[in-house]
């Protein structure tokens, strides 16, 4: 699969707190924008991939956009862990000849519609897995992550201020991205430390990503066909999913060690093996940042630093534009938008094309990760 497929089109809606239209319309707008960006038409598309959580049916998207027939359609589970997995699925379909042009999409009204942080107020039928947590008030993604991250803090002496530097980096990058919700609104570490506790003593308000209404879509085709299309292709050098034993959706509290993200460890091993690259080869990365602690833990799982050393490795200078490893140059989920990680993939493509608002010099390889603390996925994209 290595280097056989490429992302050739990207599309998105505006990122807002109230889109004023249906999730299906957001999906159709972003899918059409991505197809147009690729220099293709709906008639060229024969595959669709989305998240299991997406409410827009493949057949409805095809009916609206005018895609005449589909030879492949698939859905990827586990929330934001699906983002890079949709691209892996598309790349597999293209590499095996099952489809020629696949569009991956994700669109939702996550702020004005069903909010993931309000599960407790919206439960109609208690899922079995949640039954071990809901009676005790462990009811939000923030709380599920915090109970895990508290153990990481304890074992390695990590403080909430260490997490805050990730928020500062993301908001610095968002401040110069006009598409970002937090455009022109950077924060300082003092702002972070003054923000209220959401889950004490792990997560403050500024450690938690925002909620967004919007949609993002990506077009994947063969690397060969990509040469004839208008934009420089983002070659899919490596793609992987990962899950590990004794995990749950977001409450994997039963393994011996809770200081890592073993699902991301599986993804990392596969990405490095498939690409033949090492962390030193990565020009810039999008590290899924729904909650800041798991960005530090990802730096360790991916091999950018050793276990327990992310708190010292993750300086604002190193991780921001001009540094050794600029991350989340669009502002990430904290600063730009929360489109379940799909907006990290669009930013990676822009870095390859040289069209980011926060362009890194001489980009060769970009690493992208999907949601963490869940079965997850990752990509390495490369320039030709």
């Amino acid at each position: 699969m290595r280097d056989q497929a490429a992302i050739v089109g990207i599309g998105q809606t505006e990122f807002s707190k109230e889109s004023g239209r249906t999730e299906l319309q957001l999906a159709c707008e972003s899918v059409l924008a991505a197809i147009t960006d690729a220099g293709l038409t709906p008639a060229n598309v024969d595959g669709l991939v989305t998240f299991t959580l997406d409410t827009s049916e493949e057949m409805e998207v095809a009916r609206n956009v005018g895609i005449p027939s589909l030879s492949m359609f698939a859905r990827i589970p586990y929330g934001g862990g699906a983002s890079a997995g949709t691209v892996m699925q598309a790349a597999m379909a293209v590499a095996t000849g099952v489809a020629d042009v696949v569009v991956c999409y994700r669109a939702f009204n996550e702020r004005s519609g069903m909010r993931f942080g309000n599960i407790g107020g919206a439960i109609t039928a208690m899922p079995l897995w949640l039954s071990w947590y809901a009676p005790y008030g462990l009811l939000t993604p923030a709380s599920w992550v915090a109970l895990h991250a508290q153990r990481y803090m304890h074992e390695y002496g990590v403080t909430n201020e260490d997490f805050g530097r990730i928020a500062v980096v993301d908001r610095m990058h968002a401040a110069t991205n006009p598409d970002a919700w937090f455009y022109e609104r950077p924060i300082t570490i003092e702002d972070h430390q003054a923000s209220r506790w959401i889950i004490e003593p792990v997560l403050r308000l500024l450690d938690c990503c925002q909620e967004t209404d919007g949609g993002v879509a990506l077009v994947i085709t063969s690397a060969e066909r990509a040469r004839d299309l208008p934009h420089p292709p983002a070659i899919i050098t490596a793609a992987a999913q990962g899950a590990t034993f004794d995990g749950e959706m977001m409450t994997s509290y039963y393994r011996d060690d809770l200081t890592g993200l073993p699902e991301m460890g599986v993804v990392a091993d596969r990405l490095w093996a498939m690409s033949g690259l090492t962390p030193d080869d990565i020009s810039t990365a999008f590290l899924y940042d729904h909650f800041t602690p798991f960005v530090l833990m990802q730096l360790e799982e991916l091999g950018f630093c050793a276990r327990g050393e992310a708190k010292d490795f993750a300086t604002v200078e190193r991780l921001s534009l001009g540094g050794e490893l600029p991350i989340n140059t669009s502002g990430g989920l904290l600063g730009e938008a929360y489109i379940h990680g799909m907006n990290g993939i669009t930013e990676a493509v822009r870095q390859i094309r040289g069209t980011s608002y926060n362009q890194v010099d001489q980009v060769e390889h970009v690493l992208v990760t999907a949601g963490t603390g869940v079965p997850t996925s990752g990509l390495i994209l490369g320039a030709i």
Partner: protein, 152 residues
């Protein structure tokens, strides 16, 4: 029903509410045990390993037979958090959620009671107590373990 029984019921203090768990034939024993004030864990009948949360098959030996065995009720705090936002009608503002590791080696999520957040540390020895809620729900909760001989 006599009039006096009605008035007795009206005077009984209302039990606090909690979101109730859903159950399957794999998990019901745990909640039934709590109603009897017994903390039960699932033990593989073939290899004797304990597992939680309950599930039908032993991942080590693949046996389907298991027994519900009573745990000591003693453990230590493995991790804990204080959810502050959003606030729910079912919880006091300062509630504490803990991941407790039982002496037997399995972990479970619970609430810590009879302790203020400032006194909670990872490694704190705790013991089970059973609290009753509306609808007949009984939840295992944990409190700091009392020294031997200390009055309860």
């Amino acid at each position: 029903m006599s009039g006096s029984e009605w008035s007795d019921m009206s005077e009984a203090p209302a039990l606090p509410e909690r979101l109730a768990p859903s159950m399957t034939p794999d998990t019901q024993f745990f909640w039934d045990g709590a109603k009897e004030h017994r903390l039960l864990t699932q033990q593989c009948s073939a290899c004797n390993r304990l597992r939680h949360p309950p599930r039908p098959m032993c991942p080590v030996c693949n046996a389907l037979d298991w027994e519900a065995v009573e745990a000591s009720g003693r453990g230590t705090v493995f991790s804990f958090v204080m959810p502050r936002h959003p606030q729910y009608p079912w919880f006091e503002p300062n509630y504490i959620v803990a991941l407790v590791e039982l002496e037997e080696g399995v972990r479970l999520v619970t609430n810590l009671v009879d302790v203020t957040p400032a006194d909670v540390t990872i490694g704190l020895p705790v013991e089970v107590r059973f609290d009753e809620f509306a609808g007949g729900l009984v939840l295992p909760m944990f409190r700091p373990r009392r020294a031997y001989g200390e009055s309860t």
